[in-house]
Amino acid sequence: MKRRLWWRSFWLHLFLTPLALLWLAPLWLMFVFSTHPEIAIFSTPTPILPGNQFAANLQSLQADTNFLRSLFNSVMVAGIYTVLSIFLTSLAGYAFARFEFWGKGLLFSLVIATLTIPYFAVVIPQFILVAREAKTLLAILIGMAVFGGIAALLAWLRFSPTLGRALWVGYAAAALGYLFLGVPALREAMTFDFRLTNTWWAVILPSLANSLGVFFMRQNFLSVPMSLLEAARIDGAGEFRIFFRIALPLVLPAMAALAIILFLASWNDYLWPLLVLSDREMQTAPVALGSLIGLTRVSWGGIMVGAVMTTLPFLVLFLFLQRYFIAGITAGGVKD
């Protein structure tokens, strides 16, 4: 019996080790190539040990495209996006997990259905909104801020149920009126030049409609004991205080997992930033790097330096925080 297990283990390692090395080879060679001059990359045999040309390659990369500036853009875009997205999806996920309200089932199915809808189904209207109709978008966003504020105010002031209901109906009518009459009027009134392309916000705003985050946060808020929230409610704490002081701290590990996944997705995103960022100074790192691939006169060593610089921080992070990455990846896969 023992002997048979030993042989099984032997065969397992015999097959798996070469495969693992093969899997690591592209990453290792990416690193090696970033330290060699062009001529070595295309020579036989392929260099498998690091050289000493990293600085020279970085210099040519910086000359081909302002890569350090691109890295800065990437950090800012991914950072702002992650913070905002975590905030929005936590609020929404909490509502779906902890409240009963009219339209809950329909709204949740709508949000979740988008997980199976290809991104291409929305990319063109998103592009029109951001690149061509930036003024309309601004008018809508102003409306959202104003009406969001009014809604919060209405909820905060304690009206009698009858008066409250009447106020909410009036609020809904005013919001609709603004959308159909106020937005076009405001857009016409904007005589100044306003564009969103080549700004960080052009990349950040559309990706905030992230439904996986809502699903993930809802799952985690479901595991917060209802009795804890009830107890706070009896003590007279407001709903937002309960959310921030009690519910949120209990799901911090899940938020960390989501933050990692969102940051990574934004950091590596290519198609959308490619569409809305053409200005060299505003491009994110993948767009800048992608713009070099396929050019005839370009330093491949430089491109490999860029690949290493966008990848290495996450490889290191992955070594130490693997379980957070995995929690984020398996979020949709394993249902309870």
């Binding site: 899997w23 990453l27 990416m30 036989t44 929404a92 909820a155 990574l264 690949a307 990455f325």
Partner: protein, 279 residues
């Protein structure tokens, strides 16, 4: 506080963005597909785009390429991912940290970075030919270019799927295997009789994700082969990008986008019919 308004207040910021950047665009894409956007301002024309797509050889070419990648790459990858997950879950395996890192690391690598690397590796004077002792011009050969795309995708996504399958494996009750062991079932029999049936919902999930992902394939063919040689690796995603953002024909690009969406829907329904039900 007004109790009945509270949940809506929590939802408001997200739903506002969701309505603006997802719900409305899904509808507008459909509307755009019925418009002639080559004139300014665009005019309604119910058949111009949908009529064109039916007779557009380039579209069918892109569809054929995409489906070809789909039927070769996805089963290959999921089989490999399942085998990997079982191996990584085995109690006989030593140095688990090393193996997990090796196969899972591609998950954090950006598409642009690994596309650049694979383009280099499969260069005629690159590392792959050097290792094999061949002189194949991978990128400029129709079959070779397709092979490079498939290899690249498999490298990137096998570990990702293995992570999901591994999580599924770990939720299978251990006593099932202990009982089978006592009954004298071989590991091979255990795999087919216990593991695979228990994994069905997880594998189905991976399959759906992979198919939707492949239908939208853009970055890898765009950067590694630029859709070439000729149109040999032009996928639906690349074709949509060309029509929408190089020819600036939003109407026709929206039609292609809806065709992709319909395909995703059809594939999802077929899978649910074939494998679904109890999941």
């Amino acid at each position: 506080m007004n109790r009945s308004a509270t949940p809506y207040l929590f939802l408001l910021p997200y739903l506002a963005i969701f309505a603006l950047f997802w719900a409305w665009p899904i509808l507008e894409s459909l509307l755009l597909s019925f418009q002639n956007t080559r004139v300014s301002p665009p005019v309604w024309n119910l058949s111009i785009n949908w009529g064109r797509i039916l007779g557009d050889a380039a579209f069918w070419d892109a569809l054929r390429n995409t489906v070809l990648i789909l039927v070769i790459q996805v089963p290959l990858m999921l089989a490999l991912a399942t085998a990997l997950a079982v191996a990584l879950n085995s109690q006989l395996l030593r140095a688990k940290g090393f193996f997990r890192f090796a196969f899972f690391a591609p998950v954090v690598v950006g598409a642009v970075a690994y596309s650049a690397v694979f383009r280099l590796l499969f260069n005629q004077n690159g590392a792959v030919n050097a290792a094999l002792g061949t002189q194949i011009n991978w990128i400029f050969d129709p079959v070779g270019a397709m092979a490079v795309i498939i290899v690249t995708l498999t490298w990137r996504w096998t570990g990702y799927n293995a992570i999901i399958i591994l999580a599924g494996l770990q939720s299978i009750p251990k006593d099932l295997y202990e009982a089978a062991e006592i009954d004298g079932a071989s590991p091979w029999q255990q795999f087919w009789r216990i593991t695979v049936p228990s994994l069905r919902p997880v594998l189905l999930f991976c399959l759906v994700l992979s198919i939707i992902g492949t239908l939208q394939l853009f970055t890898e063919p765009w950067l590694i082969t630029n859709g070439g040689p000729g149109t040999a690796t032009t996928t639906l995603g690349v074709y949509l990008y060309r029509q929408g953002f190089q020819n600036i024909n939003f109407g026709y690009a929206s039609t292609i986008a809806y065709a992709i969406t319909l395909l995703a829907l059809v594939f999802s329904i077929i899978q649910l019919r074939l494998f679904g039900r109890e999941s």
